[in-house]
């Protein structure tokens, strides 16, 4: 039977230790001890026997302080293999437990322990939550202690801390899964919280241990390095304090071991860490620098206490005025590093040192003989692409390098790195990160950050979120969402405010303030947006993919623009590509070009603006290979750019427009067919005519047929155009009004069944603007008046029919 023993030695000493724990108590004891020693000395001098008594007191206090500092302070578990709960409970818990503990009392106690507070802050296992859990609990603690023992074992914990007891209280609750679901957590994630706490606790413990880094005689062994001090950064000096902190990832530790092995052997004394930015290449170098400074680590004396200097390419280029000077300067620096005998040169972003041309530096010729001879230790970090470029340009240089590939971290490793970094970020920004902030950083950065790899991209977002703290300085999932919204213009959070809800529920009405008719298409896109906002869409696809088919000038592009303005806050949120510019097979490269070379490529624009309307105009004119490339985009919401980076279209609405089949649509309308009948027949025809392949058509969520505009539709369009004309005239405080007859004349002038509303806009704008211009110049209208345009006025403009 698992029971708490109030009189167990550990429980007793823990209670006693808690009396001594307040710093004030210990300061008072130290003062008493010193005073007793001094007074006893004086009294001995005065030959007073009272001196013995004071000496006895001083020694007793001294022994008490020894006991506290050597044992009571931490009260480490002595019997790690024990199954007795009394041997394993942490002193924070033991000192607070009374003779008859109950789940209710335990719930209060765990929240007073550091690990319990940790779990409350990060995972929301608060005092109120625990009170709720134990409200109807049985008084028997056996099941809870049994669970605590199991969790301790599963999480490889030394002690049974408050966090473990918190978890045990939750996990022994009959509706545990339901409770955790309310917190959006899983049992394994919560247990991960215990491991996280243990890990941070371990770091603190290791930092308290004395570090041996060679002492002050260390640098006397080695030479002076004035040039290196000027053009480089001694990372060993800044990292020396972290000598005993192990890398948080086993993969990083492996890389460090590999580096140590390479540099300890008699072979080529260089390492090229090759991996994408953000994978932790620099972190590995920093850990390596720390590891070789650790006197307690068993490494070759040829490598021990060597210092890593990071060379600054920009400073070197700036310092060397004329051509040839740079090579001389680099030669001097490398010579100095060699003569000093303790330097390892680190060329970060090493490709910078092998570039030709003005304002660049190519030290390949200087470095190659040094690397081949193995006389100077060199570390290089670069990405795979740059390594391949160097290999192509200078194969002998690439062959000389000992390449170590640094791979991106997976989800678990990224979480571990973030957990490792959190204390530093919290200290810097004075905030507290919750677990959800970390998981959300991983999720969102994977989706939206493309210029870095994991774990760098998640860390980047996590740090950005520090500026969006909630109340009391907590960084939550919402903070991370806000950070990515501000940084990437991505709309993350489900619509919460009333204005947004109103907009979503009335999308059709709002869109029709800009365009007329085409009810079916308007409803289809509005429904897609509402599904996305409510979170009931497929997250692995774009918000919606639509193919708009119809004659020119009927509102296909206008609907895309209206959507962008109404929901995506402005027409600037539209990524528009005219596919009649992508008519040859080579166009595919332009479609997916790198943003650095072509900022207007589809992938570059969506990378910068993932939450947008992607409008692919005149899709029927694109080359078949371009359409094939778009298949994956339509299907999975992913397109890979030329650098093979995944660009997400999963927050975009993709609209493709086409005039294909415009004549057929008109014929069908004239025959009196309804839109669904037209759609069926038209698609068959388009496939038979080889205008579109069936697999392409099938990728769209919805194919919307736009019917030609009637004269009644154009009357409404005149109204809409007039509203925009009045907006233009607003600064002059003049407004324009048209009577019905005038409107009819304009419609007659602007109506062209083949061109839709386009000529109408030109006719209305130029007619009205001409009339207004004449009226203003002749003094017919003044500021603050409304100009009523009559049919006569329109006829007077003598506008030729379009």
């Amino acid at each position: 039977m698992i029971m708490f023993d109030y009189n167990h030695t550990r429980a007793r000493t823990a209670r006693f230790a808690s009396v001594l724990r307040p710093q004030l108590v210990r300061i008072m004891l130290i003062v008493c001890m010193i005073a007793a020693f001094v007074l006893s000395g004086i009294l001995f001098w005065l030959r007073e026997p009272l001196a013995w008594l004071l000496l006895a007191v001083a020694v007793c206090v001294m022994m008490l302080l020894f006991w506290y500092h050597l044992d009571l302070k931490d009260m480490f578990v002595r019997h790690l293999d024990s199954d007795n709960i009394n041997d394993l409970l942490s002193h924070q818990v033991l000192s607070r437990l009374d003779r008859h503990p109950t789940p209710q009392k335990l719930a209060k106690i765990v929240f007073e322990t550091p690990s319990g507070i940790f779990l409350a802050a990060r995972y929301g296992i608060t005092a109120q939550f625990l009170d709720f859990i134990v409200a109807d609990a049985d008084e028997n603690l056996e099941a809870i202690f049994e669970k605590a023992l199991e969790i301790r074992h599963a999480t490889d914990s030394e002690q049974i801390t408050g966090a473990i007891l918190s978890l045990a209280l939750v996990e022994t609750h009959p509706s545990c899964e339901q409770l955790l679901r309310r917190l959006k957590l899983e049992q394994s994630e919560l247990r991960g919280g215990v491991v996280w706490y243990n890990y941070l606790h371990g770091i603190v413990k290791s930092l308290k241990k004395p570090r041996h880094t060679g002492g002050f005689g260390r640098d006397l062994m080695f030479g002076y390095t004035p040039l290196l001090q000027k053009f480089g950064q001694n990372i060993s000096r800044s990292d020396g304090v972290a000598a005993s902190v192990q890398p948080s990832l086993s993969s990083t530790a492996e890389i460090v071991d590999q580096m140590i092995q390479i540099f300890s052997s008699g072979g080529r004394q260089n390492v090229a860490l090759v991996g994408a930015a953000g994978t932790g290449r620099s972190t590995a170098v920093h850990h390596f620098a720390s590891a070789i400074l650790d006197a307690d680590r068993k490494i070759s004396s040829r490598l021990k206490f060597r210092q890593v200097f990071k060379l600054d390419a920009a400073a070197l280029i700036a310092a060397a005025g004329r051509r040839g000077e740079l090579e001389g300067l680099v030669s001097h620096i490398l010579g100095e590093a060699f003569a000093a005998k303790n330097i390892i040169i680190w060329l970060d972003e090493a490709q910078l040192f092998f570039e030709e041309g003005v304002g660049s530096v190519d030290i390949a010729n200087i470095l190659l003989p040094i690397l081949e001879a193995g006389r100077l230790r060199v570390i290089m970090t670069m990405d795979q692409q740059r390594f391949l470029e160097i290999s192509t340009k200078n194969s002998s240089l690439a062959n000389t390098l000992n390449k170590i590939v640094v791979s991106p971290a997976d989800a678990n490793d990224t979480m571990r790195v973030m957990q490792d970094r959190v204390p530093y970020l919290e200290y810097q920004h004075k905030v507290t990160y919750t677990y959800w902030a970390l998981s959300e950083s991983y999720r969102l950065s994977e989706k939206y950050i493309h210029d870095l790899e994991m774990p760098g991209r998640a860390l980047n977002l996590l740090e950005s979120a520090a500026g969006f703290a909630e109340e009391h300085g907590f960084i939550t999932a919402e903070s991370v969402q806000r950070a990515i919204e501000k940084t990437y213009g991505v709309k993350m959070r489900a619509s919460q405010d009333d204005e947004e809800r109103y907009r979503l529920l009335n999308l059709e009405t709002l869109i029709h303030q800009r365009m007329v008719d085409q009810e079916y298409a308007v409803s289809a896109v509005s429904d897609a947006l509402r599904r996305a906002a409510a979170g009931v869409r497929n997250e692995k696809r774009p918000i919606g993919t639509f193919l708009f088919l119809g004659p020119t000038g009927v509102g296909k592009t206008e609907l895309a623009k209206a959507l962008s303005e109404v929901y995506f806050h402005g027409e600037s949120q539209i990524v528009r590509l005219d596919l009649n510019e992508f008519v040859d097979a080579g166009s595919v490269n332009r479609l997916i070009a790198d943003g650095a070379t072509d900022p207007l490529s589809l992938t570059a624009q969506v990378m910068k603006q993932p939450f947008s309307v992607v409008l692919l105009d005149e899709i029927e004119k694109a080359h078949p290979q371009v359409l094939t490339t778009l298949l994956q985009l339509l299907d999975e919401g992913i397109l890979r750019d030329v650098k093979n980076r995944e660009v997400s279209f999963r927050d975009a609405i993709v609209i493709a427009t086409s005039n294909a089949g415009a004549n057929q649509i008109r014929n069908y309308i004239d025959q009196g067919l309804n839109l669904s009948e037209i759609k069926e027949s038209l698609l068959d025809e388009l496939i038979q005519n080889n205008e579109f392949k069936p697999e392409f058509i099938n990728r769209f969520d919805e194919i919307c047929i736009f019917k030609p505009l009637s004269k009644e539709d154009l009357l409404q369009i005149v109204n809409l155009i007039l509203i925009s004309v009045n907006k233009t005239l607003e600064p002059q405080r003049i407004s324009v009004a048209l009577d019905d007859e005038a409107r009819a004349i304009l419609v007659e002038r602007g109506y062209d069944p083949k061109l839709g509303a386009r000529p109408m806009r030109r006719v209305v704008q130029s007619t009205v603007e001409n009339i207004v211009a004449r009226a203003v110049l002749s003094g017919y209208v003044s500021s603050g008046t409304t100009l009523h345009i009559t049919p006569e006025m329109i006829r007077a403009t003598d506008m030729p029919r379009e």
Partner: protein, 126 residues
């Protein structure tokens, strides 16, 4: 009961932890004064000055380089010896204190008892 816990700890884990702590301090002192490193490089050139100049010139030049290196090594040895001697003295002092404390540890709990006996007996120091 607490007294028993205390004495149990004092004569088992306590003594061990105390001695380990003293050893740790001695190791830190040895590291601080870089004994191993200084002994290994006692005759190396001071800060590696002139350490790697292998002139291929005349005999006169080579002899001058040799003298340069010799001087650098002598200076290096003097500086290192000075640090070694200073460090060694301090280290020995710490070692002696540590040894005394480690030996005194088991007798320390007896001290208050002895003091109380002396007090009640009215013992005066000579």
């Amino acid at each position: 009961m607490l007294f028993i816990d205390f004495f149990q700890w004092w004569y088992s884990q306590g003594w061990k932890q105390f001695v380990l702590g003293l050893i740790g301090k001695l190791r830190s002192a040895a590291d601080f004064f870089s004994f191993g490193l200084l002994i290994r490089t006692l005759f190396s050139p001071f800060r590696q000055i002139s350490a790697n100049q292998y002139s291929e010139g005349s005999l006169d030049m080579r002899f001058r380089d040799f003298l340069d290196r010799l001087l650098s090594r002598i200076i290096g040895a003097i500086v290192r010896l000075a640090i070694l001697i200073t460090g060694s003295i301090l280290f020995v002092v710490e070692l002696v204190i540590s040894l005394v404390l480690a030996i005194l540890w088991p007798f320390l709990p007896l001290a208050p008892v002895c003091c109380l006996v002396c007090f009640f007996m009215g013992v005066h120091l000579p």
